[in-house]
């Protein structure tokens, strides 16, 4: 079955390392078409009679599409439309896309997984007839193009006896011409889409690259060409020049950050430099967009300038002039001058789809419009659209495609219409997009990994899990909570001690490492709570059903069981995968009532009282250790159950039961952290809260001093104590205010991989715990899923896999989680703000 010739592939990396790898070529890779009689395939992907959904005037015959890399990279928006079907995707293309843009790669993988799209991946590099070797002096790009044409030729030959033709879609004119010269059918995406009958709106979604490229080729000049426009920006250096420059120290690498005050100014945070480097003028910014990784050239000190004091907004009055104010004609360093630089090249673009509004065209009825992003730091984007009338007054999404030198603004294309400005759904959508919260419905590929319903507990499950169904477990959560991930129990033991159990939803049972569901959850990182909406990290079936520890149903749990003395000393701790049946799902209020109601003496009431008693002792211990009690202004909206409109705003009330649950979660987290750290000394996923630098506290110390209190900030304990003392009886709010301000002084708590830091930096400052992690909310945090997996390995309940042991990989995941976590917080806050504003607006007397 295998007739392989062994090939040797040499690659050089880094210095002069020679890597020899085998490369097998096969003759059992099939074309993937149902129309083919030569290949013995059991499950053809491509249709036998590929009749396109939309009539195409260019290719009216049945055909399959073969895509070039640039098409996949830039035109995914088009590919996702249902008009495009029966597509052959080459391995070469897929590889290059993965290398160049992970988001595009993910989207294309989703398309492949979607069966109705009929995307077939042809492993051309391992096919005997389509494998090619790189020729001397051939650029990787040319090589890939040649590989694509080789496969195209193979497919053409393969289908020559059938009416089916293969059409190459490419945006590379050169490649198109070469393919045509070889007698193949090749079009650009523009040509192809234009020829689609009845779908003119698709044209809008085309990326603008090709047209510009052609224009530029027509001009074929870097300076002003007759009929062309002014070249406004200096040329970017090639990546080769940049790399060489960085090595020599001529250039520096950094992240571009636009100034909030003045669109002409920006900063670059250069690696290894404490202060941000200043950039003045659009020409010096040289087409960098917020967040891009750029190469900069530092100016000599004599050329340094100071940030201007004017707030300037881009009115875009003159299109072909960049920096009209030529007031930087001064000689010698200005007062207050800071290190200044200019951007010479872009290392990596940080372009993403932007939300915003469309502006009217300069000429009425024209198709060229400017787009203004909601994010102020993003420059205006020039787009072309036929449907201005429908888009005006709506929030729309636009992607940047390119930024040629002769264009004042970057060029983009219309992606999606979100809806009318001011509409609640639209604004939510904007909010999510702006905070980079992945909120699209879960793709088919992801959903395919969900367990099939009806889901039942099998005999096998019962043998590997501890049966805790007889234990009186209950959960305590905020009202309206559907993703219950923790439940508790308390059972007095005969020796006077008590067994306390924390049961966490066993999410990792349903999410197996590495599959699409896992990857998606990992990239989402956390569930995002908006005021009227929840964006789940895992599909609803898991979050609100199978994993949710609802009352009265049997669920899988990951249990932590302690034996504790009445003084809340831990005698021993044990972790186990279990099956539980929660007796009741209480709200904080219900639980509180049950505890307070002396007439109730059932097992749950006793348990809750026992838990509360323990929790108080634990809390006291923690506070004695120097844990901080900080306040934040949390508000809640009561929702109208029908419209999901907020009715009233209230501040969150803290009940004893809140802190009771919290206390045991903390305890569980700490216990688990110790255990996984023991098991994975190098790669445990932990959470730390660095000690904030003293300078952070300066403002609050000043504030406290004005009221005559001296805050001690040299240790957590001292801070906690002095905060406790700072009380003005006449102003009951003062202490809380101080605590809120202290929160602001804190550094962010972060996830990290234990191997990346020395042990003394594991500290969680806020909780005064030497080691901490997140274990208790796997439904809504991915970090907990990882921790679950690690713990499962530690107790030999599950298999280990390489990623768990790779400290760099864990750190990579942690970095993403930190980012998502932060963004989710911002998005949550922004949502509260939005609703507060909307609420205030509507309650105003008209």
């Amino acid at each position: 079955m295998l007739t392989s010739r062994s090939f040797v592939k040499k690659t050089r990396k880094g210095g002069v390392m020679k890597v020899v790898r085998e490369h097998y070529l096969r003759d059992d890779i099939w074309c993937g078409s149902a129309a083919c009689t030569k290949c013995p395939i059991d499950k053809p992907v491509l249709e036998k009679e590929p009749v396109p959904e939309v009539e195409n005037t260019l290719c009216s015959y049945p055909h399959y599409l073969l895509l070039d890399t640039n098409v996949v990279l830039h035109q995914v928006d088009i590919l996702e439309d249902k008009a495009i079907k029966n597509v052959i995707l080459l391995q070469t293309v897929q590889k290059e896309v993965k290398h160049r843009s992970l988001p595009s790669y993910k989207r294309i993988r989703d398309l492949i997984a979607n069966e109705t799209k009929r995307f077939y991946v042809f492993t051309n590099e391992h096919h005997r007839d389509t494998y090619i070797e790189i020729e001397p002096k051939e650029s990787p790009n040319d090589f890939n193009d040649r590989a694509i044409r080789k496969s195209l030729a193979w497919y053409d030959e393969h289908f020559k006896d059938t009416p089916i033709k293969i059409v190459l879609l490419t945006n590379d004119i050169d490649n198109r011409e070469k393919a045509r010269n070889e007698g193949r059918v090749a079009y650009t995406v523009n040509e192809y889409v234009k020829a689609m009958e009845g779908r003119p709106e698709l044209m809008d979604r085309l990326a603008q690259i090709e047209t510009k490229e052609r224009e530029r080729k027509a001009n074929d000049s870097d300076i002003t060409a007759p009929g062309g426009r002014n070249v406004l920006y200096p040329e970017h250096l090639s990546s080769y020049e940049i790399n060489a420059g960085i090595k020599q120290g001529r250039y520096k690498k950094g992240t571009f950050k636009a100034s909030r005050e003045n669109f002409r100014e920006g900063y670059v945070s250069v690696q290894g430099m404490e202060k941000m480097v200043f950039i003045k003028g659009l020409a010096n910014q040289n087409r960098a967009v917020q967040g891009d990784i750029v190469a900069v050239e530092m100016f000599a000190e004599s050329q340094w300038t100071a940030p201007s004091t004017v707030i300037a907004e881009d009115k875009g009055s003159k299109e072909d002039v960049l920096d009209e104010d030529t007031d930087n004609s001064h000689i010698g360093p200005k007062k207050g001058a800071v290190p200044t630089c200019r951007i010479v090249g872009i290392i990596q673009r940080n372009w993403r789809p932007f939300c915003g509004v469309i502006m009217p065209a300069a000429v009425k009825g024209g198709t060229k419009h400017l787009f203004m992003a909601a994010e102020r730091l993003i420059p205006k984007i020039r787009i072309e659209t036929q449907q201005y009338e429908t888009l005006a007054g709506n929030r729309i999404i636009v992607s940047i495609d390119s930024w040629p030198r002769d264009s004042r603004y970057p060029l983009g294309h219309f992606v999606r219409n979100l809806g009318a400005i001011g509409d609640k759904d639209t604004e939510n959508e904007v909010l999510l997009l702006e905070h980079d919260v992945p909120h699209l419905p879960f793709s088919e590929a992801v959903l395919s990994f969900l367990p099939k319903l009806p889901w039942t507990i099998t005999k096998e499950d019962e043998t590997v899990r501890e049966d805790l169904r007889h234990v009186d477990i209950c959960s305590v959560d905020p009202p309206g909570c559907t993703d219950i991930d923790d439940a508790l129990h308390y059972k007095p033991l005969e020796n006077g001690n008590a067994e306390v159990g924390v049961h966490i939803a066993d999410v990792s049972h349903f999410i197996k490492p590495g599959n699409a569901l896992d990857t998606e959850a990992c990239s989402r990182g956390t569930t995002v709570y908006l005021v009227d909406r929840r964006i789940d990290m895992v599909p609803d079936l898991l979050s609100s059903n199978l994993c949710s520890l609802r009352g009265g149903v049997e669920r899988f749990a990951f249990s932590t069981l302690w034996e504790m003395t009445p003084e809340a000393e831990i005698v021993n701790v044990r972790f186990t995968k279990s099956i539980i049946k929660s007796r009741a799902a209480y709200t904080y209020e219900q639980a509180q009532n049950k505890i307070d109601d002396k007439s109730q003496n059932d097992a749950l009431a006793i348990g809750l009282r026992g838990l509360l008693k323990m929790a108080k002792i634990l809390k006291q211990k923690r506070t004695d250790n120097g844990a901080l009690t900080l306040a934040s202004s949390e508000i809640r909206f009561s929702m109208d159950s029908e419209t999901h409109d907020p009715i009233e705003v209230e501040r969150k009330v803290m009940r004893e039961t809140n802190s009771m649950v919290e206390e045991f979660m903390l305890l569980a987290n700490v216990s688990v952290a110790q255990r996984i750290r023991q098991e994975f000394p190098q790669s445990a996923c932990l959470r730390r809260h660095p000690v904030p630098p003293l300078s952070n506290f300066e403002p609050i110390i000043k504030v406290a001093l004005t009221r005559g209190f001296e805050l001690q900030v040299d240790s957590g304990k001292a801070l906690a104590d002095s905060l406790d003392k700072a009380n003005i009886p006449s102003i009951p709010f003062f202490n809380q205010l101080l605590r809120m301000m202290t929160t602001r002084c804190m550094t962010q708590a972060l996830y990290f991989s234990s191997g990346m830091l020395p042990e003394d930096e594991y500290l969680h400052f806020g909780l005064a715990s030497p080691i901490y992690t997140h274990f208790t909310s796997p439904i809504r945090r991915y970090s907990d899923v990882i921790v679950h997996r690690m713990l499962a390995v530690a107790i030999s309940a599950d298999a280990c896999f390489p990623e768990l042991l790779d400290k760099a990989k864990i750190q990579e995941i942690c970095d993403n989680l930190n980012y998502r976590h932060r963004m989710a917080q911002y998005a949550g806050r922004a949502s509260v703000d939005l609703h507060t504003q909307v609420g205030m607006y509507s309650s105003l007397p008209v």
């Binding site: 062994s6 085998e22 391992h126 298999a799 042991l805």
Partner: protein, 246 residues
């Protein structure tokens, strides 16, 4: 996940193999005249050379002759040029001592040791190029060399490794696949009787998957056996012919 995709969604490994395919095997018996038996094997880019001397009198102060069976002395080594970096490898470092011991155990299980009391058999294996599955290549080469030397043994010993990626067991893992840190199970077995002579595991593997992985590894051993067997038969008949001619 980032990093190398060891198994593509289309079911191909990095080098183009499917999960259950061995690498290309090339082998030769009797490459040296000097030794009593010798063999050379290539499994993909892993190349190993084995030579067998003996049985001969027990020499040197190393071991005392055993009155009821032969001493099997194995020595494993890696050539300086066998890996990416040229590296001087001292004799008797921990890794090669361990490997030698493993080899010795493996072959004690299959050589009919009682036939040659008071004597010694030396098996020297050297890895000329390392690209994953070194132990397997050594065992396979040594088996061939022993056959070449005409030392009676119960059965062949074939070795094969297998890994586990994305819920799919992979046969005959290459260096690239090994180095990703996943579990690797190495099995040396007597293919006819399906007895396992040696079982080695690197990294953790959940017990639920063990059976699957083991199955794939033993399938690999049997495939290996088929190839080796054909080569041995061919070698024997060729030798017979050349004897007749002379």
């Amino acid at each position: 996940m980032a990093g190398l995709e060891l198994l593509s969604d289309e079911g191909f490994r990095l080098d183009g193999r499917r999960p259950s395919e061995l690498r290309k095997i090339r082998l030769r018996l009797g490459v040296f005249d000097q030794a009593d038996g010798s063999a050379y094997i290539e499994q993909g880019n892993t190349k190993a050379l084995a030579t067998v001397y003996g049985p001969h009198e027990v020499l040197g102060g190393k071991g005392k002759p055993l009155h009821d069976k032969v001493i099997i002395n194995c020595q494993y080594s890696m050539a300086t040029f066998s890996t990416n970096e040229r590296k001087n490898r001292p004799q008797g470092d921990r890794k090669s001592t361990e490997m030698s011991l493993h080899l010795q155990r493996t072959f004690e299980a299959t050589i009919q040791t009682h036939l040659y009391p008071r004597s010694q058999i030396d098996i020297f294996v050297q890895i000329l190029q390392a690209d994953g599955g070194n132990y397997c290549a050594c065992v396979n080469a040594a088996t061939l060399a022993i056959i070449n030397a005409g030392i009676p043994m119960k059965d062949y010993v074939c070795a094969c490794s297998s890994g586990y990626v994305n819920n799919t067991p992979l046969t005959d893992v290459s260096y690239l696949e090994e180095s990703q840190g996943g579990p690797v199970v190495t099995v040396a077995m007597l293919p006819k009787s399906e007895q396992i002579a040696l079982f080695k595991m690197d990294n953790r593997l959940h017990v639920d998957h063990l059976e699957q992985v083991l199955e794939v590894a033993s399938k690999g051993c049997k495939d290996m056996y088929a190839v080796m067997n054909a080569a041995v038969k061919e070698h024997v008949s060729r030798m017979a012919k050349s004897m007749e001619c002379s």
